[in-house]
Every structure is written in structure tokens, then in C-alpha cells.
């Protein structure tokens, strides 16, 4: 009985200890520009930042994907397990503003796993705000300017041809 209890306790310790270690580690709230500044002093630390997911998820190998998170104008590559992207529906691009998410993960200024890239290995992702379609006004005056320009160009071309034929130069 005591041996079984000891085994269970040992197994629990093995499973829980990394999580406890993570919980014990401080989490630094930061932003994209600070992460990319390479002077943040956060290399190897657990960071938390918010931003918009942009473009698309890219395969990252080992059941992971790359998601790029645009935080205060600087996009950061976040490597996360496939299942973590389940919350993400809208990726930002011309037609849409992407979902706003809060990422917590370990920052590597030169990640050994990814050829020295600066990245964040996500440990959790939280949806803050769902993305939406972006409205772009169609400004018809541009069509007017373009057509006037084409008419001027056509008139100029006709005049040049007439002059060439008549050698009036």
C-alpha cells in the first residue's frame, strides 16, 4: 500500500513539477516593439503580450503552427500547438481586422530550435476580441481623374500621329 502511494506521488510530482515551475516563473507584460528591440532583457523569460493575428497560420512542424501577432505595429512570430489555434477564426489582412489575442509564452531572441529566429513559444492563448471585416470606401473621384488623364493622353497621341503624318514639327 505504501509502495503504491509512493508511486502515485512520484508520478504526480513528475507531471506537476514543470507546471509548478512555470507557475513560479514571473510573467512579464510586454509589447511587440519591446520584444523585437533585443534590448528588453527578456530573452528566455515568459512574456505576455496582446495583438492582432495577421495573414495566416503556417506549418511549424511537430504538431505546431506559426501565427504572427501584430502588437503595436510590430509582428512577432509565435510558435504554438495546432490545437491552440482553435480559438482563432479571423486573420488580419486587407479585407479583415484579425482576432485580438493575448499570448503567453517563452521569448527566444535567437531560438535554437528555429535556426536563430526571434520567436515566442506559446504556452497559452486567450481571445480578447473577435476580428471583423474592414470597410474601405470607394472614392469615385479617382475614376474621374483617371479618365480625364486617359482622354488627355489619347488626344495627345492623336495630335502626335497627325503631326508625324503631316511632318509639321
Amino acid at each position: 500500500m505504501s509502495r503504491s502511494l509512493a508511486t502515485v506521488l512520484l508520478v504526480l510530482a513528475v507531471i506537476v513539477s514543470p507546471a509548478l515551475a512555470m507557475a513560479a516563473e514571473p510573467v512579464y507584460d510586454t509589447t511587440g516593439p519591446e520584444i523585437a528591440s533585443s534590448g528588453s532583457g527578456l530573452d528566455g523569460a515568459i512574456v505576455r503580450f496582446e495583438g492582432e493575428v495577421v495573414s495566416e497560420p503556417l506549418f511549424g512542424g511537430q504538431g505546431h503552427v506559426w501565427v504572427n501577432v501584430l502588437s503595436e505595429g510590430t509582428a512577432i512570430g509565435v510558435w504554438m500547438p495546432d490545437e491552440m489555434t482553435a480559438e482563432i477564426e479571423v486573420f488580419g489582412r486587407y479585407s479583415h481586422t484579425g482576432d485580438i489575442v493575448r499570448v503567453t509564452g517563452r521569448l527566444s531572441e535567437a531560438c535554437d530550435e528555429h535556426g536563430g529566429d526571434l520567436d515566442v513559444h506559446a504556452e497559452s492563448l486567450e481571445l480578447i476580441e473577435r476580428g471583423e471585416r474592414r470597410e474601405h470606401a470607394v472614392e469615385w473621384w479617382k475614376l474621374g481623374v483617371g479618365l480625364v488623364g486617359l482622354v488627355v493622353a489619347y488626344a495627345g497621341w492623336r495630335r502626335m500621329r497627325r503631326k508625324d503624318e503631316g511632318a509639321e514639327w
Binding site: 495573414s55 535567437a110 536563430g116 526571434l118 495627345g156
Partner: protein
């Protein structure tokens, strides 16, 4: 003797500048079609507007003289210098309407950066930019990389005979791959088409395997190919090449960058199956030595800073950025601040030198060029040999660049003059940047990047930088692409014209 421009010179200059600018109206049809296919109605109107402005400006200028009007060597230089400016002005019109630029100056900066294949950018919110505008930004690399004159010649836009030849030479081209200049221009586009097809195909596969949709895969592949083969440096994402997190992507783009920095004459030899020329050509050898020595310096520098702990990382980051710098491309897989924080010291200095030296002449690369460096090195050796030889002996030398050519004082003087002009411009731009309050090292890096049409950036180039510095970099990109002489011809003609008016008054 300084001779001012007469009316007949001015109308001929206006005529040919107009024809060149008109060709941009045709090129803008491609982003217009992209916008229509993608359902980007706002950007589609930006290109209708751009086409109208380019066609009207081009035709009004062309109307000043009859087709086929004679143009002399000096006027051809002026047309070349002006065409890059006026073309950048009209290329900036749709960009400035995109909403991704803070001002027309910023859009003009990107247009001239694109056409000169520099790659420095003042774009804002790039990750939300319309596909049509990204198409146009990357097309400017493709047009400018081959040369505006070559682009216009290829579509036979009224440029024929002696005028075509004068303009072709004035653009800094010296290759005579085929007897007819028009056929040479088409051969240049043929080589480009082969590489663009290969690059687009390979990168499309890479992108698809990385999970991109088919349409975006092909578009991103085409843009990256245009940016790398034309040694431009623009990217459709704000992270530039880092966005892809892919060694495969980096490998293919390195091949494209190296192909882009190869002299078109060497491309022609390779195409004909002659592989011996590339091994005995002075310029190819000089470039190989240059890349070899600077790779070692970058490797040593990175090892000292310890920014990349694994040897594979050091090679991947170091070599990618060295080739990017040496070829004048400017793609980067690090953030701007990492140039100081990560590269620092020796590696940083080696990257500046790689940008300053540049690729091969008659390619899409910028900078001093490997041929001139090779000539200067040979000149130094010749001088030493002359110094230690008996006074009665005559010591001469020759070099191999397509043919065996005697190493004369004229050849050396020309190489040294261009070397000096680039060096003075690099340093002057750095000092101006420093005067604006930026650290000298970073200011020099940015200045060299602009003048050598590279596009790597430590972060100085951004929409919030002072307008004065934006103008300085615009002039540097323009002067560097023209290799100074066409620009000087324009300035000298304007000065001579003003002086003659004053003396008459």
C-alpha cells in the same frame, strides 16, 4: 566646355522622358487586374487614377518632339537621370492613394526605392496592404531591376535606332550580348523570365507546403522572386523574410539573389553552355573572394558576440544576410534592432562593407561593383611590381572580363573615380544621419544601404524619420542607381543653362 541646353535638346529630352514614363501606364495594368480579380475595388480605382496620370504626363512630354527625333549622348544621360525621377513620381501616385503612406513624400520614397531596387520602405500597416498595392511595389523592382530603358526597349515603345542605343548606354549598361540593342534588351527579359518562373514555382511549392492558400502562395512566391532576383528587398509582410520561418524559402531566395547579382553577359555565356568564362572572369573571381573574406568576418564577429549559440544558426543567419547585403537585395530574417544587439562589431562592419562593395556590373545589383574592386586590386599589384622591377623594364598587366583587356591607366582611373564617388557619398550620408542625432554606426549603415541600393535597415528608415533625411536617402538611392555620371550630366546642364541666361542678362 560646358554647353547649355538648346530648345531642340529640351524637346528631345522631353519626348524620350515622356515615352519612358508612358510605359509605366502599361505596367500599372497588372496591379489593376490584380485588384479586380481580388475584388479590391478601392485599390482598383487607385490604379485607374495612376494609369491616367502616367499616360497623360507621358504623352504630354512625348508630344514635344516627333517620334525618332535624334538624341545625343549628353541628352541621353539627362533623359536617364530625369526618367528615374519622373517615373518614380507617377509610380508613387497609386501608392499615395493607398492609405498606407503618411504623405506623398513617403510614397515617392517607396517608389524610387522600388525602381532603384533599394528596398528601404516607409510603408505603414504593411500586413493589411491590398494585394494590388503589393503587386505594384514588387513590380517596380522588376521594372527598375532590368532598367527603365530596357523595359521600354523591350516593348519597342517608340525607341529605335541610335536613340535606343544612346539611352541604353546612358543607363549604365555595357553588355552587347546580341548585335542589336533591342534584341539584347529582350534577351535580358528572357533570362529574367526564366529565373522568375523558376523562383515562383519553387517558392509556390514551399509556401503551399507551409499551409498557405494557393492564390497567396503564388503571389507571395512571385513577389519574393521579383524582390530577390532583382536584388530589391521589398516584402509583402512587415517581418520581411522572417515571416516564412523557412530554411527552404531562405535557400531558394539565396540562389535567386546570387543569380540577380550575376552580370548579364555571364548569364548569356551560361545560357550558351560556356562555363569557362565564369571561372576566369576577373569580376566573378573578385566577387567570390569578396564573399569569402566577408563571410569569415561575419562568422568570426557573430562567434564573438555569441548572439547565435549554435554553429548552424550562425551560418544560416550570417550567410543569408551577407549574401543579401553583397547582392544588394536587402531581405532580412532579423529585426532591425538586432543589427546592433545581435550582429554588433566585426559582423556589423563586414555587412556594411558587403553592401558598399555590391555585386557585379551590368546586373540588377548596386554598389561599387566587384569588377571595379578587382581592377583596383590588380592596379595595386601592378604598381608594386613596377616599383620593385628594374627601371628599364616595362611592366604591364591585363585582366579577363569577357575578353583579355590591357590594364590601362584610363581603366584604373575610371574604377577609382567611381570608387571615390561612392565612398564620399556613403560617408556624407552617414554624417548627415549623425547630424540628425542618430548614432554614427547606424547612420553609416543606412547611408550605405541607400546609396548601394540594398535596403537593409537598422530602423532609422521609418515613417517618423525627419523629412530632410528622407530626401537625402532619395537622392542617394537615385545617384547610386545612376552611378553618378547621368546625375552629374543633369546638374551640369542645368548649371550651364542658368549661367548662360545670367551672362545674357
Amino acid at each position: 566646355m560646358w554647353v547649355g541646353l538648346h530648345r531642340r535638346d529640351l524637346v528631345a529630352i522631353a519626348h524620350y522622358t515622356g515615352l519612358l514614363v508612358s510605359s509605366l501606364a502599361l505596367a500599372m495594368i497588372i496591379p489593376l487586374v490584380t485588384a479586380l480579380v481580388a475584388g479590391e475595388w478601392g485599390p482598383a480605382l487607385d490604379y485607374v487614377c495612376g494609369i491616367g496620370v502616367a499616360a497623360a504626363v507621358g504623352m504630354l512630354l512625348a508630344l514635344q518632339a516627333p517620334r525618332g527625333v535624334h538624341i545625343g549622348r549628353r541628352d541621353a544621360l539627362i533623359v536617364t537621370a530625369l526618367a528615374w525621377l519622373v517615373a518614380s513620381f507617377v509610380a508613387a501616385v497609386p501608392l499615395s492613394l493607398s492609405g498606407n503612406y503618411g504623405s506623398f513624400l513617403d510614397a515617392f520614397f517607396d517608389a524610387i526605392s522600388g525602381l532603384t531596387t533599394s528596398g528601404l520602405t516607409l510603408v505603414q500597416d504593411l500586413d493589411h496592404m491590398a494585394l494590388a498595392h503589393n503587386m505594384w511595389r514588387h513590380l517596380t523592382h522588376l521594372i527598375g531591376g532590368q532598367g527603365i530603358i530596357v523595359a521600354a526597349l523591350s516593348v519597342a515603345l517608340g525607341l529605335k535606332g541610335g536613340a535606343a542605343m544612346s539611352l541604353y548606354i546612358a543607363e549604365g549598361r555595357d553588355e552587347r550580348i546580341l548585335p542589336n540593342v533591342m534584341h539584347t534588351a529582350r534577351f535580358i527579359w528572357f533570362v529574367t523570365a526564366v529565373y522568375v518562373t523558376f523562383g515562383t514555382l519553387a517558392l509556390s511549392i514551399s509556401n503551399l507546403l507551409h499551409g498557405m492558400e494557393l492564390g497567396r502562395s503564388v503571389l507571395h512566391a512571385f513577389w519574393a522572386t521579383a524582390a530577390c532576383y532583382d536584388t530589391g528587398g521589398f516584402g509583402p509582410q512587415s517581418q520581411n523574410a522572417l515571416y516564412y520561418h523557412s530554411p527552404f524559402f531562405e535557400g531558394i531566395t539565396v540562389v535567386l539573389m546570387l543569380a540577380g547579382t550575376l552580370n548579364f553577359n555571364l548569364h548569356a555565356d551560361l545560357w550558351r553552355g560556356d562555363r569557362t568564362e565564369i571561372f576566369k572572369n576577373l569580376e566573378a573571381r573578385a566577387l567570390a573572394v569578396n564573399i569569402g573574406i566577408l563571410s569569415l568576418a561575419v562568422g568570426l564577429g557573430l562567434a564573438v558576440t555569441g548572439a547565435f549559440s549554435e554553429p548552424a544558426e550562425l551560418v544560416r543567419k550570417g550567410l543569408y544576410h551577407l549574401i543579401s547585403a553583397n547582392s544588394g537585395t536587402g531581405h532580412q530574417t532579423i529585426y532591425a534592432s538586432q543589427w546592433i544587439g545581435g550582429f554588433g562589431g566585426l559582423a556589423f562592419g563586414a555587412i556594411i562593407l558587403a553592401m558598399a562593395f555590391g555585386g557585379m556590373a551590368s546586373s540588377t545589383a548596386g554598389g561599387i561593383k566587384a569588377l571595379r574592386l578587382g581592377l583596383i586590386a590588380k592596379g595595386v599589384i601592378l604598381r608594386v611590381r613596377q616599383a620593385i622591377s628594374p627601371p628599364s623594364s616595362v611592366v604591364t598587366d591585363k585582366y579577363h572580363h569577357l575578353l583579355d583587356v590591357p590594364l590601362t591607366a584610363d581603366v584604373l582611373a575610371n574604377a577609382l573615380m567611381v570608387f571615390t564617388l561612392y565612398t564620399v557619398t556613403y560617408i556624407s550620408g552617414g554624417m548627415i544621419g549623425a547630424a540628425y542625432g542618430y548614432p554614427m554606426g547606424e547612420a553609416l549603415f543606412e547611408s550605405v544601404s541607400a546609396t548601394a541600393n540594398v535596403g537593409l535597415s537598422t530602423g532609422i528608415t521609418n515613417p517618423a524619420m525627419p523629412a530632410g533625411l528622407k530626401l537625402v536617402y532619395i537622392v542617394q538611392m537615385w545617384a547610386g542607381r545612376l552611378e553618378f555620371i547621368a546625375l552629374f550630366a543633369l546638374v551640369a546642364s542645368v548649371v550651364a543653362g542658368v549661367r548662360s541666361r545670367w551672362s545674357r542678362a
